[in-house]
Amino acid sequence: MSETFVLVLLSAAGLGVLLCLIRFFKGPTAPDRAVAVDTACTVTTALLVFMAYYFKRQIYLDVALVYAVLMFIGVVAIARFLERGI
């Protein structure tokens, strides 16, 4: 019961990443792609925590922590470039 629960939720979050990826390939302008990557990164952070629960290892949570802190810097750098002020 628990195995299928975890697999269904993992595949649902993976479907979310896939939808963001379709928007990344379709998006007409560069800010569309930045929005798609930002959403994909947040979904991926939740997915990493969920994979730590699936593998039952606590060290995998550190990857999600580093990801949650550092993905913000990349998106802000892209935004500052678009605003012409880096």
Binding site: L21, A30, R33, T44, Y60, V63, L70, G74, I78, F81
Partner: protein, 79 residues
């Protein structure tokens, strides 16, 4: 397991090939950010969390910031 790894590698390759064909170089940098995201998931599935941590920090933050400073000095669109 092998199905998930194949799917992640296919998505990573599609993002990397799309980075080659964009005329807007900002979109190419965003695509390389996406490649590092999938590479981090792949390293986590292959049970190497320290490599995944290094890949996430370098590929997400550092490469994007350095490429943004480089694009500031040069042109954004290639012809």
């Amino acid at each position: 397991m092998i199905v998930i790894v194949t799917l992640v590698v296919a998505l990573m390759l599609s993002a990397a090939v799309s980075a080659l064909f964009f005329k807007d170089l900002l979109s190419a940098v965003i695509a390389s950010c996406l490649v590092s995201l999938f590479a981090s998931i792949l390293f986590l599935f292959l049970q190497a969390p320290d490599v995944a941590m290094a890949e996430a920090s370098i590929g997400a933050a550092l490469i994007t910031a350095v490429f943004m400073i480089a694009l500031r000095r040069t042109k954004r669109y290639e012809e």
